[in-house]
Point group: C2
Chain length 986, copies 2
Amino acid sequence: MNDTSSQLQSQIVARGEEILKRMEGQSKASIFSKDFWYGSIMEWSMKNDKFKTNMFRFVDVLPSINSGDEFSRHLKEYFSEDGGALPPVFNVGLGLGALAPSLMAGAIRKNVMGMAKIFITGETPDEALPVLKKARKNKMTFTVDILGEATLSEKEAQNYSSKYMELINWLAKDAQSWEEIPQIDRDHEGPLPKVNVSVKMTALYSQIKDLAWDESKKILKDRMRPIFRLGMEKGLFINLDMEQYSVKHLTLEVFTELISEPEFKNYKFFGVVIQAYLRDSFADVRSLTEFAQKRGTPFWVRLVKGAYWDYETIEAEQRGWPIPVYTNKLESDANYEACAKYLLENIKFIRPAFASHNVRTLSACMLYAEKLNIPKAALEFQMLYGMAEPIKKTLVDMGYRMREYAPVGELIPGMAYLVRRLLENTSNESWLRGKFADGKTTSELLKDPAQSLQPTSPFLVQKESHFYNEPLLDFAVKTDRDKMQKALAEFKNTLPVSVPILVNGKELRSAQIFSRNNPSHADEVVGKISMATVEQAEQAMQAAQKAYAPWKHTSAGERANLLDKLADLMKRDRFKLIATQVFEVGKPWAEADGDIGEAIDFCRYYARHMRELQKPQRVGHLPGEVSQYIYKSRGVTVVIAPWNFPLAILAGMVAAAAVTGNTVVMKPAEQSSVVAWGLMKMIQEAGFPAGVVNFLPGFGEEVGEYLVNHKDTATIAFTGSKAVGLHILKKAMDVQPGQQQVKRCIIEMGGKNAVIIDNDADLDEAVDGVLYSAFGYSGQKCSAASRVIVLDEVYDRFVDRLVEAAKSIEVLPVENPKAYMGPVVDQEAHERILGMIADGEKNHKLLFKGSVPVHGFFAPPTIFGDVPGDAKLAQQEVFGPVVTIIRAKDLSQALTLANGTEYALTGGVFSRSPANIARVKEEFEVGNLYINRGITGAMVNRHPFGGFKMSGVGSKTGGPDYLKQYMEPICVTENTLRRGFAPLEE
Amino acid sequence: MNDTSSQLQSQIVARGEEILKRMEGQSKASIFSKDFWYGSIMEWSMKNDKFKTNMFRFVDVLPSINSGDEFSRHLKEYFSEDGGALPPVFNVGLGLGALAPSLMAGAIRKNVMGMAKIFITGETPDEALPVLKKARKNKMTFTVDILGEATLSEKEAQNYSSKYMELINWLAKDAQSWEEIPQIDRDHEGPLPKVNVSVKMTALYSQIKDLAWDESKKILKDRMRPIFRLGMEKGLFINLDMEQYSVKHLTLEVFTELISEPEFKNYKFFGVVIQAYLRDSFADVRSLTEFAQKRGTPFWVRLVKGAYWDYETIEAEQRGWPIPVYTNKLESDANYEACAKYLLENIKFIRPAFASHNVRTLSACMLYAEKLNIPKAALEFQMLYGMAEPIKKTLVDMGYRMREYAPVGELIPGMAYLVRRLLENTSNESWLRGKFADGKTTSELLKDPAQSLQPTSPFLVQKESHFYNEPLLDFAVKTDRDKMQKALAEFKNTLPVSVPILVNGKELRSAQIFSRNNPSHADEVVGKISMATVEQAEQAMQAAQKAYAPWKHTSAGERANLLDKLADLMKRDRFKLIATQVFEVGKPWAEADGDIGEAIDFCRYYARHMRELQKPQRVGHLPGEVSQYIYKSRGVTVVIAPWNFPLAILAGMVAAAAVTGNTVVMKPAEQSSVVAWGLMKMIQEAGFPAGVVNFLPGFGEEVGEYLVNHKDTATIAFTGSKAVGLHILKKAMDVQPGQQQVKRCIIEMGGKNAVIIDNDADLDEAVDGVLYSAFGYSGQKCSAASRVIVLDEVYDRFVDRLVEAAKSIEVLPVENPKAYMGPVVDQEAHERILGMIADGEKNHKLLFKGSVPVHGFFAPPTIFGDVPGDAKLAQQEVFGPVVTIIRAKDLSQALTLANGTEYALTGGVFSRSPANIARVKEEFEVGNLYINRGITGAMVNRHPFGGFKMSGVGSKTGGPDYLKQYMEPICVTENTLRRGFAPLEE
């Protein structure tokens, strides 16, 4: 550290000490907590993680609880197990104290609601206005923000727009009568708008899609423009708030492009936000500065630390993407100071506003400004309403401009905001907590965050013991969108693809050619497929039988290495593989990418698992004997795959069969033979010996049947319809002449999957989860949600939002990245689904039927309401974008309805009642149960997948038992005692 | 320690020092090893356990190797993997040195054979005689012992008897010309026989059975009597040697009873052996002394430490019986001294001979004698031929009588003796090793073993992490034999047992009564069984269906506790349960006991395993999500059981189904309904709720069929014939109206199990293992050996011994404990088996057909030779006491033959070639492969049991995957992220 910077550091600390000293007069209670109840909740939360989780979850669910009984029930469910470790106020609420429980419950409810009011100025602008005006009296100005639920539909987006417009109009009007207070209403250059409004971009459009980047941006700008325009007309400040990282790039582009437009380019009072906890924030500050320089007229940048830290890290870890935030709080603090310094150095072009409650940070900003001789009036500090009152007051007293971030809005979304604030205040790394709760020393509180900083990496260290899923593509990355477009164009040029048969490494053709057309454009021929004859099926069986002996004696390690190689090839050819699915089976980009990712995962997971399973397991422990439990291969496996996950399911079954030492005859679905041929070519390239995997496109009734009945078939792996699955199960048990072993069938069939919506469900999540589970890939997933069982009390609210959300989605040919939903797979499916919809319309209440393109096999997203649980529509698998909503009076009835089909594949529940969740876990009969999330998109290893009852025979792909099905357990027992002597064994 | 004993200890040490001092002149090589080669082998063995194991195994197999090529191959197989860690003599043998490998191999062979000659006086008495005479010149006398193979047949027993008689005659004759040497040929009372012969009791009778105690004893005495008589006539000393603990009680009884007989009771020169390492040896010394007192004429006791320590501990651990030997060497040494002292104190009544190489022990014996003023001539010391030469010489020089234990015999059994000696000399606790190899100090070598001794327990501490099988009964214990006789008599009194149906806890009757008769005595009615009607089957299904919901929600822990309770009841009622099987299914005592033990094991193992499986398994590891992999029950399980393991298999299937949360309808085999009813009553007594297990005796074609086809049947657990198994598999896949789930079939069927006999097999073990595997329970086990594939080179030797062994077994009604084999299960089986034998006789070479009782359903033990592998007899399951021997030219052909049936259940190989064992492990297609042991008698946990191909669907009872078949894996995934906040999870 050189002398100058060392001197500066001393000055920053001195300024910090001054501020802290000025704050001393004020009481702790009046700062960090408004009252005893809030204070004691905070204190318990800091001491006890379990309580903190339960408390915050309880706060979250509270606004959606309507009755006192329900309130008491939730209170008990969340807190009774904690017993003694609760604040006294809770014990009485649980009936453990002297007062009547219901009275106490009421008091607690009031207290929790009261907590929200600490941080929210009012439920409506009306309520907020006096609060804002009172602040002005204390020489603090504000920026108003509207709290709201997630925008799930265009109706909701429209609603938000209106609210912003009304707010602007209404505040502008009222502000006309406000007296100017120079400390807050002027800067060094002159007057500032008295009214400042913060707008959230995601509130204005429900269908933001990274894939459809330009389209999304265009619509967002269209929706933002009237707000900017009105703000400018009225002379207000309009700030575009920053939300989660996934929309950061888009937000910055929308902002800069918008304020570059002629009508806006000379207006000074637009602002945007930079989150210093983001690793790329300094780069963003620099490019915004360059942009400002070009624009000429300055605009504002609010520099914040960032409030979604938990979410961003979890989201990135779950996706396997680099973590966008600094994982060390000191790095964020240091980066904040660096950004602040840079902004101050460029104050000519760009105006900074420093939002922080950290006195060290504030002091540093002041000192950097002073070094640059920037006048005090050019500085603006921002803090959240309801927090850090003494700091605010001190800065006001010191003559700085202080702006409060002042949310206005209803309690339900307000609770989410409250939870964020509670998290912030109880975080181990909170400066406020350090100061007011933990009593850190002044020197700790004020020390330079950059001093002896250990930099962190955005990449997690992977643990040997863990399996990591292949990350999906991030279409927010432009190069990936471009690669995708290129791959689509290139693939289109190769059409139609000629698909042969491949037996023992040799390509064969047949006279029977099946023409496969693009379901989005029925006249486009994607593939010309040689459909195998029975004779060719016999050749394939013989090839597989012949290849079996050498393959089973190949070491498991070598076989596993080949699977890893195959996974690498899939990764290399990713964009081409996606393009193939877009054209052949009408799968939208991201879902096709998910399919490739899953195929990669299957290969790697099974390779990894086989390396484990090959190790003999010692059974027994007695001296004089070594008994080993070993898994061995079974023989020829016939793989019959569906078209809906055309790569993943096929590759998964083939990979499992082959890595366990079996040879394979694979028969893909007619509709996805081109995708399957792509797999076959990669298998060859990976180096699997000829004959180990044979490729037999063909018709199920012909060659499928032949393979199933073949005497040499050891195992049949099938995924498809119930009818075909049951047929295979039956036929496989006919012992053929010369057959040497009982066939084993690994059969996955359909589902009639239900999602239960409990009274206290988080509707933001429930609507979104159900929508995608029902309409993702046009409902053509065996895991798709086709029944939604909604509890009476929440029925209307849920259904209204769901229908509006459904209205907002776009059904398009899937080469168009805007497509939320594409076509169904072929004409047959199209006719069947339309028939079922027509039938449903005759018998049930149609809530919604979407509009679709006229060419291609597009089925409309359709919602039926109040369908009886035993109706055909509620019992038969549709395998299309049709949802049946069933009303249930309570959870018991919901469970009876949910279990009331012959299927048991996936199921879900949205609930925030711990007891109800536990009950559903125990009673809902499904192979995969999802709690508070969508019910599709099972990930290998994380969600071993498969159903029972009439949904399958209990296999679970991507799980710990799957590979064993392709093998036989063998026990080898050696008597090691010879002549009375046995070696010692471990 | 009081003064006297302290003084004595000093004197013992002083005497020891004197002996050691006298020994000093002699070189190490001349003592501990006769030459460099032997010395270096000993040295490597002491340093390297792996080498020691391989070396001793190699020594063991060597005599059975006939060609140089085979010798080289074995040499390589045993030693090449050790690479550098070999003595140089071996490296050249492996071709790693300069000399031609074949030359070196020859040298090694000669050296190993030479090692045997260190310890064996000669292959024949002729060869031995000069050696013995030479010893006499050095003032050492001898006792001659005949080394031989295990006595597997009465022919071999007869052969041994003749050898002993010849030896006695021949030595007696030659000794007539021997000059008396007073130091060895006289004791304090007068002349001793110059010739001393040691006899092994087990050599004289091949059918010793603990169960048939009195009968065995009678025959042994009959066979011993001529030897004793001849010895006495010729004035020789006859010593009855002691072998393994299992025959110790019998040996002592035979000895004492024999020498109490009038013709022998006055002869002094009989001797017996006490092994001081046995925990009960001191008690035996005392009772022998009392017996001697009563007899009047003294006899001799040779006091040894004992040479089967490894074997005794392993055997006891494997059986779960108390360990008969001291596990701490010092305890044996201290006990030896205590026994010696006691014997010396009673020298009036009984004559001791002290056999030991331990100078401390020898000194103690001398001093104890001196304290008692016993003359030196009254003392006799014994040591093994070829060991401890300088000690022998020293004692001779000191004027003591020294007798060498001098084996004479062929190389093959000689090698076993050699291995025992090598083990002794390389044991960490060997006194000789301590003195001559490890260079222990004199004070260590001579210290009082009783000083600060830590007593050990005969009971192993059981580890939480291990499963322990229920020990079988030890019928060497008289009280257990008596209890068994009592239980048989009591059960007989209750006949016929009336067996009802039991549905939902209520007994039902039917009009159709099935009469079950005792297969040993066809006219004895054992049971009168109500055979269920289809209506009653429906009632049972409904009861099980109704009981399902509460049962599946009962905690897994509670269900497991009920199984443990059931196991306790079985243990309590053990003798009664055995008796039931003896009468109802003709099972010999010990095999019935094995069945009860297995049933107990199933209950405990499944209980234990379920406690593990109930714990949800976390899958995935990402924050914001908790995914659990859980096993859940399936529904009503139909259990259809066979009669051959009437309790174990039925109980195992019922236990597995019930503990996993399913309810059960059990249909026992018609032939074992009485046993099954016993199980049902214990299930009730254990406290299983009514309806959880329902009991439905009946005919398979009626109620079995009905249950299999029932729409509510979730799982079918079946063990039985291939025909019925395949029928069930097929019928179960017919989906019935109203059926809600795909049925799962856990099917165990038949076998055509083969044992391969390699050229280098240990025939002692192979013949015994095959005999029991083939004829145990009359071959009525799915695991029974029905094919023996013998390599050409060893064919005749193996077959001769097997046929002779088969001739020696007794087929009797099974209430008679002498029965090696009893009847087959019923008339139908009897007719079928006799038919197959008659058919075989027409087409193949009959090697042996036993004789059987005329009443009852007895099928003769039968052996066919040179049967072609594809003959009907070599392909069809007999399920009776019929063995087909198939000749193979080499191992490849043997494996082809072994794999050449449609079954794959059990299989075995007897081989001492590491490479061949490895190859068989890889290539022999069986569910349970046994190496160098019999192929029946799988134990729960140690040998998870079950086959594939047409033997079953790959289930493995008593193994880690079994219970999972009765359950469905479920994945429950909870999104724990709410409002951007997720609790930390492990």
